[in-house]
């Protein structure tokens, strides 16, 4: 009886997984998805902030976008979790290292378990990698080093290139197969020397990470950045794009700068951007000839200017 019941349960699980079979990720139309009306955006007193460590938003049932709580770190990064049949890839691990104060791994475990339960799986391999090698994107990486069924892509440019199979970074475009869902990945340096852009043909989301987002695009190497912008624009000419997604919001809906390290941003615009904004920024940037801070109307370009510099004025001048 007991053995029979166990067998029945086992069969039921198998049947449930098999009922949908392998998940189909069609690419002939953009899989629908949504963004929240408002992301968590810090609070006047961080001490009294009761929001979760990250906001988990399911863009659709196979794509999760997470936002860091600004009361844990002002960066408030966006983190991407993209599921295929065989693997789920985690793009970025945020700004806080210690699991006891910012338990990213435990949260990712919950999100992965939720997806597995919904899709009749026991588990799925987790691939941990980064849009680029800055501390606000890899601080939580170490929380995963002893996680079962997990592949960590190293935190050096060489390890990243070897993992994804790049021989001609940044121009080369590689495919990374999550199991029926193949991401396109290529280089977009300029903000940081190992930055990657990725495109998901299933949702038609293009992730421009830290090189292009509503905020201060900190450009350490202008020549590399403008070349990366050109690659993005050309990609957008050739591929359908539903939304551009990225890793930060540092601007208010009215265009005002939320100065560096702001921890309360009640008037944020949407995170997602569109191709028209990308093109406008590229056209604006082509005319820039000298380092400086430029507001394009959509974003601010910190062209080889130190990130800690803000453009705030002294309100007390008399």
């Amino acid at each position: 009886m007991v053995a029979g019941a166990m067998l029945a349960t086992h069969l039921a699980v198998a049947a449930s997984a098999a009922s949908g079979g392998r998940i189909d990720f069609p690419t002939d139309h953009p899989a629908p998805g949504t963004f929240p009306q408002k992301w968590i955006h810090g609070s006047p007193s961080l001490y009294d902030n009761k929001d979760p460590i990250l906001q988990v938003h399911w863009y659709n049932e196979h794509t999760a976008i997470l936002r860091e709580n600004k009361a844990y770190n002002y960066e408030g990064c966006f983190i991407y979790l993209i599921f295929g049949n065989d693997k789920v890839i985690l793009w970025d691990q945020g700004s806080t290292a210690l699991r006891n104060i910012w338990p990213l791994r435990d949260l990712i475990d919950e999100v992965v378990a939720e997806w597995c339960k919904r899709n009749g799986r026991e588990d799925i391999e987790l691939v941990v990698t980064n849009t680029h090698l800055h501390g606000d994107h890899y601080s939580g990486w170490n929380q995963f080093v002893d996680r079962p069924n997990t592949t960590l892509v190293g935190l050096t440019h060489e390890e990243r290139m070897a993992f994804f199979g790049f021989s001609h970074y940044p121009e080369q475009r590689v495919e990374y197969d999550l199991g029926g869902r193949k991401l396109l990945i290529w280089g977009s340096p300029g903000h940081e020397d190992s930055e990657l852009a990725f495109y998901d043909p299933y949702t038609q989301l293009l992730c421009t990470a830290d090189m292009f987002y509503r905020g201060r695009c900190y450009i350490g190497n202008w020549a590399k950045w403008i070349a990366s912008m050109e690659r993005l624009v050309k990609f957008a000419d050739a591929f359908p794009i539903s939304h551009l997604v990225n890793c930060h919001i540092e601007i208010a809906a009215n265009g005002d700068d939320y100065p560096r390290a702001s921890t309360y941003q009640p008037n944020e615009p949407p995170m997602q951007m569109n191709v028209a904004e990308l093109r406008r920024t590229y056209e604006f940037a082509k005319k820039v000839t000298a380092p400086g801070i430029y507001f394009t109307g959509d974003v601010r370009l910190y062209d080889e200017v130190r990130s800690a510099i803000t453009t705030e004025e002294n309100p007390y001048v008399y």
Binding site: P44, S45, L46, Y47, D48, N49, D51, I53, N69, A71, Y72, N73, Y74, T96, L98, I101, W102, G220, N221, W222, A223, P259, R260, A261, S262, T263, P291, E304, V305, R306, A308, I309, T310, T311, E312, E313, N314, P315, Y316, V317, Y318
Partner: protein, 345 residues
């Protein structure tokens, strides 16, 4: 019945406390202290200020750190997890009056309960002194400084409380400086403890500093402090610093107690704006000789858009608060370099 204590003869302030407490417990009524010492009142700052945390949401330090410098002098800091400015406020007691200097960066009492904290301190102090209450005066080093005027309204309507007016003309009248601003000085008598009020416009048009002869502290707000001193009017600033030099030459000053702290413990290195985790802060207190160094650089930067980086402060003239010095003066000791932006080919 009033007992006069010759505090000058007491070597240790906790000794005073024991005597005062004993006086109350023995039911001998109200205690009066003689604040006229021939040396700065004893006290020490042998503790670490709360300095924020890696993740502010997990911070469980007190909302306001209170440190008794001595029985009649309290130093307070706002938790950086409530506001990154982490301003310092001060509560002084004389025989007849308490004085609160500055009110921090957060208005909401549920986040930053400054009034409740001051109430508790006053209540305990009154108990030790055998009093039922003591009048409170609230003053600001600048009524326009949004990092020091925010909890001012918490004291509106508080019984037995006088608030220095916010408008400059009214404030001048309140202190008795209408005819002599900014060269004159005024006094606030707390009852045997007479605090000097010094107009120090320059970082704010209504800037004030307060000198307490009992502790020999100069409370300077954001006029002089270990951080980025943001000059709002350089002529006024230099004139005020020069006047302060003259004042300090006539008075013993033990420490300058500013309203903010932004320097690290490395000379000339500061924490950028909005930093909420500052584990290696410089000491808050500045030596009086710092005024001379400030005066030197206030003179040399006059009329110019310039940032003077010094070991203990950064003087910023005609630039915004988020401006950063791109080079380090060669006379400061070397510190680990931050990566330079690659020059454009």
């Amino acid at each position: 019945m009033s007992i006069k204590l010759r505090a000058v003869r007491l070597k240790l302030w906790f000794g005073t406390s024991v005597v005062l407490t004993a006086a109350v417990l023995s039911g001998r009524g109200e205690v009066t202290r003689d604040y006229a010492l021939d040396h700065p009142a004893p006290g020490s700052i042998r503790f670490t200020w709360i300095y924020g945390s890696i993740a502010s949401a997990t911070n469980r330090d007190p909302r306001i750190q209170v440190q008794g410098y001595n029985e009649d002098t309290y130093l307070m800091r706002e938790n950086l997890a409530i506001h990154w400015e982490g301003p310092f406020t001060y509560l002084l007691f004389g025989n007849d009056r308490a004085l609160l200097i500055d009110t921090g960066a957060t208005p909401e009492s549920k986040y930053y309960p400054l009034r409740d904290t001051v109430d508790s301190l006053i209540k305990r102090w009154c108990k030790v002194r055998g009093k039922t209450d003591v009048p409170l005066t609230v003053v600001l080093t600048s009524a326009e400084d949004i990092a020091q005027n925010q909890a001012y309204a918490q004291f509106a309507g508080r019984p037995n409380t006088t608030l220095a007016p916010l408008a400059l003309a009214e404030a001048k009248k309140f202190f008795g400086l209408s005819d002599t601003w900014p060269t004159g000085t005024a006094t606030l008598d707390l009852g045997g403890r007479v605090v000097t009020v010094l107009p120090t416009p320059g970082t704010h048009k209504d800037g004030l500093s307060f000198y307490d002869p009992y502790t020999a502290f100069l409370f300077s707000g954001d006029f002089i402090f270990p951080g980025r001193i943001l000059i709002a009017n350089d002529k006024d600033y230099l004139a005020s610093v020069n006047r302060l030099q003259g004042f300090v030459a006539q008075q013993p000053v033990k420490w300058i107690m500013g309203g903010h702290l932004e320097m690290t413990n490395l000379p000339g290195v500061d924490y950028p704006r909005r930093t909420t985790f500052k584990p290696t802060e410089r000491l808050l207190q500045l030596e009086p000789a710092t005024i001379d160094e400030v005066a030197k650089y206030a003179a040399s930067t006059m009329g110019q858009s310039e940032i003077a980086v010094r070991s203990d402060f950064i003087l910023m003239n005609r630039v915004g608060p988020g401006a950063r010095a791109l080079t380090r003066p060669p006379d400061l000791p070397p510190v680990p370099a931050t990566p330079a932006i690659r020059p454009r080919p």
